[in-house]
């Protein structure tokens, strides 16, 4: 008994067939060998032969929707029949069959079957093939159900992730609303002072801080901070700085000068502490007279606007906060006349770029601020906001953008 005969014993394909019929079909089968990787038939091909897998392994491949790649959708082991669908319905091959190992098959050519096998026998064969196919469909259904369960699981995980992201987002928004409370409250009333500000964090929270601290009846501190980076850590850092400056002022009976503030901050926040630094502009204004003292630690110059004059730049006197070993702060003095304005800002404004990569730049800002005369500080803020937007759109800022406008009116 050769390999083929052994193989064909008791195959479900032959159920209900008598010896004669089986003998005929056996005589029609042709043995064929395929090497690893060789294609047996191709998806879309018009061929209707039927195959019995004797030895080896065959994979079933189906093209993806884009037709550019194929996926293996199943594998066949010895004793299985394949190619039966086109054998039955004469439609093009729905899959590609490829030898996964060195493979031996028995092939029943459609032409031979049609010519030599009687209609009666073909009917029986058809019925057997259908039974075999039904069995396969059952298996396919089961694995489909398994996949569905798998999809459910994936969806569940996805839901969890979405919920997680939502939670983080909510926490961030909460942090943002807390950070907003660190900003000067609009209802804050100071003698002879009008102020307004712009605060646009790059992300939900930011590394910038603007603040106004009333120190006594006649004095108030105004300051702006830019922490390196603009992530959540930077935002937490701004809260710490605001708290420190507040405490430092409260715990000392005398008004602390900008110089003392900078020295204290250099001591409190060495770079190594958070691996972060910040720049700061700090001034104390005498509300009766408009006189003020200021110090800056690596911060872009504040701009003083006097009617009919060129802007005055209040330049930095000390290195940024975090490098106390290089620190040697000093203090400047100026006086505002009625109608004069001060603008404190962070470099997010000057560094904002348009789509061609050109920065807004300090000069553009200075001439914009110079034009902020005979207008209210609220109008100035709107004007600046508009100017930045029309310069940079559709590009967006990659940094926090903050500006404090202060007007002295007596």
């Amino acid at each position: 008994m050769n390999v083929c005969e052994q193989f064909l014993q008791n195959h479900p394909f032959f159920i209900d067939l008598d010896k004669e019929e089986i003998g005929l079909i056996k005589s029609l089968l042709q043995e064929q060998k395929f090497d690893i990787g060789e294609t047996i038939f191709q998806e879309g091909e018009l061929s209707f032969d039927l195959y019995f897998l004797v030895e080896g392994e065959v994979s079933i491949l189906k093209s993806d929707i884009d037709k550019e790649s194929q996926s293996i959708i199943g594998k066949l082991q010895p004793n299985e029949i394949f190619g039966e669908m086109s054998f039955l319905d004469h439609a093009p091959r729905s899959t590609t069959l490829q030898a996964e190992k060195n493979t031996v098959v028995l092939r029943l050519l459609w032409e031979d079957a049609e010519r030599s096998i009687s209609k009666e026998t073909l009917k029986k064969i058809t019925a057997n093939l259908m039974l075999i196919n039904i069995g396969r469909l059952r298996n396919a259904n089961q694995s489909y159900m398994k996949q569905l369960k798998h999809i459910d699981k994936v969806q569940e995980i996805q839901q969890g992730l979405l919920q997680h992201e939502k939670d983080i987002r909510e926490a961030l928004l909460e942090a943002a609303s807390m950070q907003k409370k660190l900003l000067p409250p609009p209802e804050l009333k100071l003698k002879n002072i009008h102020f307004s500000w712009l605060y646009e964090p790059y992300q939900v929270v930011g590394g910038d801080l603007i603040n106004i601290l009333p120190l006594n009846e006649n004095h108030a501190a105004f300051y702006i901070v830019d922490v390196s980076g603009h992530d959540i850590a930077s935002a937490i850092f701004t809260a710490s700085i605001a708290q420190f400056i507040q405490q430092f002022n409260v715990s000392n009976e005398l008004i602390q000068t900008p110089l003392q503030i900078i020295n204290a901050l250099q001591q409190e926040y060495p770079f190594e502490r958070f691996e972060k630094y910040f720049t700061l502009f700090y001034l104390i204004l005498e509300l009766d007279t408009g006189k003020f003292l200021y110090s800056s630690a690596g911060h872009p110059p504040a701009v003083m606007i006097q009617r009919g004059h060129k802007p005055i730049l209040l330049e930095s006197s000390d290195v940024l906060i975090g490098l106390k070993e290089f620190s040697s702060p000093s203090m400047g003095k100026q006086q505002l006349q009625s109608g004069d304005k001060l603008f404190l800002y962070t470099d997010g404004i000057t560094e904002i770029e348009n789509t061609r990569g050109k920065a807004f730049g300090p000069d553009r800002l200075y001439s914009l601020l110079e034009s902020c005369q005979n207008s209210s500080v609220e109008e100035d803020i709107l004007k600046i906001k508009h100017a930045i937007k029309s310069f940079s759109e559709p590009a967006i800022s990659r940094d926090d953008v903050s500006l404090l406008a202060v007007e002295f009116i007596k």
Partner: protein, 115 residues
């Protein structure tokens, strides 16, 4: 971010091959330079001639690098920085902290004479 490096005598010369160092690459820049600083060099030269823009996070990285260099008693100098970057150093008063040279050659001459 690609960084090329070269060892000459006791100096390590590092060149970031990028136009920008901003928050998207600054921590990578820092880590890569600190990794290169594993040997005790006397002088660390950072060649900034390709760089057009750095932001505050890049300054933070430079400060980290400076602190590490100081711990090893190495001098840090920045070479070939463009006008706008030198301006940024002036603005933040970091020109008091970093030595800034026209280019790598000038820095090498300076440290040679110092010996």
């Amino acid at each position: 971010m690609e960084i090329s490096s070269e060892v000459k005598n006791e100096s390590l010369i590092i060149k970031p091959n990028a136009q920008r160092i901003d928050s998207s690459v600054s921590s990578e820049f820092k880590t890569k330079v600190l990794d290169l600083l594993n040997k005790p060099y006397k002088i660390l030269l950072i060649d900034f001639s390709e760089i057009e823009f750095i932001d505050s996070s890049a300054l933070g990285s430079l400060i980290s690098i400076l602190k590490s260099a100081n711990l090893q008693n190495a001098s840090l100098a920045i070479c070939g920085a463009k006008f706008q970057i030198v301006n940024l150093f002036k603005l933040t008063r970091l020109n008091k902290v970093f030595i800034v040279f026209e280019d790598v050659d000038e820095a090498e001459k300076f440290f040679m004479n110092k010996k």
